[in-house]
């Protein structure tokens, strides 16, 4: 097929081998989800968070701040050099929809020619789940599956999700979770923490790998958001200590600031809580380095916007905001931290002398540690952390394990405990998430996946019981190594 025979006249070509224009029904790259889901950033933007929010968490270990603004023109970058780097589209993935290339061995097919059953629409939605609402969460609702609301202001969308949960929600038609006894326990604690200082309500969810700590934390976040709490949710706080975000030394506070992460956090917080923040105002002046202090009486939304737009002032604004929120009593504040143990671990950051920077010398971990340890507290609110065993580089250190009485070699008196970390781990209460789902909870979970057509409809009790027995009731093993991994359906 030579160029001479290819028709050039019409833009709408029925000839699939035409190389001039791609046919209309091809999904354009800009509209599609990012192609590579392997990066955590891409997974977190899965539920449609704004483009800017993804790119604001920049990659790199540069000493100075680094802003990567989405959609920067290629011309600016390649002015002096002849090298043409690959074009990055808005979603951060490589490749461009506008690049014209031949289809090679693969030919396009019109949607009308896809007549097989598997391509047909679901039609009547088989999966009918009740919505996760605070009023609906009673004791008799244990072992029922409830879907999460998917508004844009949902903390799930604003802050993102842990990678494994994001992958599951990608596979499902509706993000959901199963209500367990431990869920009601945690939500009960939240209710009791409503009118108390957060000093008295600092909880950590513990349990074995894959038992459901992150899911329980997510349920707590959703409950708080629906109950008019101000919510801070950190789905993967390891990003603050694994040197994936920029850091600068601040001589005034003698700590390392993380401006990009702070700016991102402010933006996410604003997105999630803008409705409640309308009424709140700054009580007094907020001083910021390098610019005029922000006047008292400024609406908090404006304060946050300033910080989100200007990363250099974001850490100061974030700590000021936290201070304001900790004093106000209009709304309780929830600080939810997943992979909580990372705050107590050795970081991957290095100072100019190449010694490791402690976590409490970085602005973001320090801020979180202060509220988690009770050194600072919200007038109304709670701090909930969830341990995560997924990342073995950042596993719970001995100070935290001793504070939570986790066992596993904490009786070793030959290991040095850092007194600073011990003080930061004081007063944490442990909530153990049960290792195994009850049979009814597992049945609800299985039911949802089956109705969502992840498993064949013909599989029933035998598959369920065998996979439950193999996993020993462990939720992650039951789903991922169980019915999603087996070929003997």
């Amino acid at each position: 097929m030579t160029r001479d025979t290819a028709p050039h006249t019409s833009s709408l070509n029925s000839d699939p081998l035409s190389t001039t224009n791609p046919p209309e029904h091809w999904v354009k790259r800009e509209d599609a989800l990012p192609p590579k889901m392997s990066s955590i950033h891409a997974a977190r933007c899965l539920l449609g968070s704004t483009v800017k929010s993804t790119r604001a968490v920049a990659v790199g270990r540069t000493y100075a701040t680094k802003q990567v603004v989405a959609g920067r023109s290629l011309a600016q970058k390649t002015k002096s050099s002849s090298f043409r780097p690959s074009r990055r589209n808005d979603a951060g993935g490589e490749g461009s929809a506008k690049k014209e290339r031949s289809t090679g061995a693969f030919q396009t097919m019109s949607p009308t020619s896809l007549t097989a059953e598997i391509f047909k629409d679901r039609g009547a939605d088989e999966l009918v789940l009740p919505t996760f609402r605070p009023e609906a969460l009673t004791q008799d609702k244990v072992a029922t599956a409830m879907k999460f609301p998917v508004a844009d202001t949902n903390p799930m969308r604003a802050f993102g999700l842990p990678k494994n949960i994001a992958t599951e929600f990608q596979l499902l038609s509706k993000p959901f979770s199963v209500i367990r006894d431990v869920t009601l326990k945690v939500l009960g604690r939240l209710d009791s923490a409503n009118n108390k200082s957060s000093f008295h309500s600092r909880m950590v969810l513990t349990g074995s790998q894959g038992c459901g700590k992150s899911y329980t934390l997510l349920q707590a976040v959703q409950y708080a958001a629906a109950s008019n709490w101000l919510v801070f949710y950190f789905p993967y706080v390891i990003d603050t200590v694994n040197s994936s975000t920029s850091y600068t030394y601040d001589p005034r506070t003698k700590t390392y600031l993380q401006p990009a992460y702070a700016a991102q956090t402010l933006q996410n917080f604003l997105t999630a809580n803008s409705r409640l923040l309308q009424e709140l105002k700054t009580p007094g002046d907020v001083p910021i380095d390098g610019r005029a202090p922000i006047q008292g009486g400024t609406p908090l939304t404006e304060l946050i916007t300033i910080g989100a737009k200007d990363p250099s002032s974001a850490p100061a604004i974030l700590s000021a905001l936290m201070g304001i929120l900790s004093k106000q009593t209009d709304y309780p504040v929830l600080l939810a931290i997943d992979a909580f143990q990372a705050l107590y671990c050795k970081t991957s950051y290095k100072d100019p002398q190449f010694s490791t920077i402690k976590s409490y010398h970085l602005s973001m971990p320090r801020l979180l540690l202060e509220y988690a340890s009770g050194k600072k507290s919200f007038a109304r609110g709670a701090v909930i952390g969830a341990l995560s065993a997924s990342n073995t580089t950042f596993s719970a250190p001995i100070e935290l394990r001793e504070s939570l009485k986790l066992g596993n070699g904490t009786a070793n008196s030959y290991i040095k405990r850092s007194p600073v970390l011990v003080s930061y781990a004081e007063g944490l209460t442990k909530i153990t998430v049960p290792e195994a789902l009850s049979e009814r909870e597992a049945a609800s979970l299985f039911d949802v996946w089956m109705k969502d057509k992840a498993i064949s409809r013909d599989s029933g009790d035998e598959l369920f019981m065998s996979k439950y027995s193999e996993a020993g009731g462990n939720p992650r093993d039951f789903v991922w190594k169980g019915f999603l991994a087996t070929i003997t359906l």
Partner: protein, 349 residues
């Protein structure tokens, strides 16, 4: 007419005279030579010659050289003949086809060729041995017919004949290959051993105590103490909890001990095939080998234990090759080869 020209009577006289001379005359050939007494001083006197009594041999088949063999052939054949006659009189022979099929199978353990040779005190060749065992087989058949027909005397008589030809360790030989029955302890637990490659597993299986007792129905038979499997449907009673099979290996839950889904599935497979999920719990101690071998050993032990608890499912497990100990083992390295099968690179020169 006499050729000699001598009369008959004279001939007879001549013969008698000859005879007479033979008895009294000392012939040179038969007479003993003279030996002076002095030479005989150191020689023992000759023993008196007894007249040779020719005893009749015990067996008429003595001069065959294989008396025992031919005698036994004779006696067996006569026994067959007599028993056949007897059975015919009792109308037990010839049997119709359906009766022949209904007879219990013959389990014969005759003596080996060497033992038979010793018994019959005659070295047996293969064909002779086969002839003996053929006859024994026929006689055994008659004994079986008599036994099934209810004629105990005849049967016992034939048995006594056949017993001498059977091996001493007949029971042990017949018991070979039959699995020993699995014993249950006072708690109703079965104890079995499973093996795969280099792994050996000791497996205890106990029935799950059903939490919600089902309402007794008329159709429910009197249940034994252990091993009842009453299915509970979650639809019939939504509040009733359905029990699940719990497996502990070396003290650890199954999920912790075997992280690979394939190993876990291998262990649960006996339950799945037999539909006994949720009916039994398992505790196993396994040693040796690697993860897959250990999981195979546990599965083997579970299969044997389940067959002990519920004998009906043994056929299912047999057909799916779970009861059989997987005989595959690591093949040895051979000389001249790099590994068991891998050859060294061929070099032309």
């Amino acid at each position: 007419m006499n050729v000699l020209g001598v009369g008959r009577s004279s001939f007879r006289t001549a013969v008698a005279a000859l005879r007479n001379t033979q008895t009294s005359r000392a012939l040179a050939t038969t007479a003993r030579p003279y030996v002076p007494p002095a030479s005989l001083e150191h020689v023992a006197p000759p023993r008196p010659r007894r007249s040779r009594i020719k005893t009749k041999p015990e067996s008429s088949a003595f001069f065959t050289g294989r008396a025992g063999y031919y005698d036994s052939i004779d006696s067996l054949e006569s026994a067959i003949h007599h028993s056949q006659r007897a059975l015919k009189n009792l109308h037990l022979l010839p049997l119709p086809a359906f009766a022949k099929e209904a007879l219990p199978p013959l389990q014969t353990v005759w003596k080996t060729k060497e033992d038979m040779s010793e018994l019959l005190s005659a070295k047996l060749t293969t064909s002779r041995y086969r002839r003996v065992t053929g006859l024994l087989g026929q006689l055994n058949d008659h004994r079986r017919v008599a036994d099934v027909g209810g004629y105990a005397e005849l049967s016992s008589g034939l048995s006594s004949v056949l017993e001498t030809f059977e091996r001493d360790n007949k029971d042990a030989v017949l018991a070979r290959g039959i699995r020993k029955p699995v014993k249950f302890d006072e708690y109703g637990r079965s104890y079995t051993v499973g093996k795969r490659k280099e792994s050996a597993a000791r497996v205890w299986i106990i029935p799950v105590k059903q939490r919600a007792a089902p309402a007794p129905t008329e159709t429910q038979a009197a249940s034994p103490d252990f091993g009842t499997v009453d299915p509970i449907s979650i639809d019939s009673d939504p509040t009733a909890a359905v029990s699940m099979t719990e497996v502990l290996v070396n003290g650890m839950p199954l999920a912790k001990c075997f992280p690979l889904p394939a190993d876990r599935e291998r262990i649960i497979r006996p339950f799945r095939l037999t539909g006994l999920l949720g009916a039994y719990n398992v505790f196993a101690i396994v040693r040796g080998g690697g993860t897959t071998g250990q999981s195979g050993a546990v599965a083997h032990g579970i299969a044997k234990g389940l067959a002990a608890h519920v004998p009906d499912i043994e056929l299912i497990l047999k057909r799916s090759k779970l009861i059989r100990r997987d005989p595959r083992m690591v093949e040895r390295k051979k000389t001249g080869l790099a590994k068991a099968r891998k050859r060294y690179a061929w070099v032309k020169r």
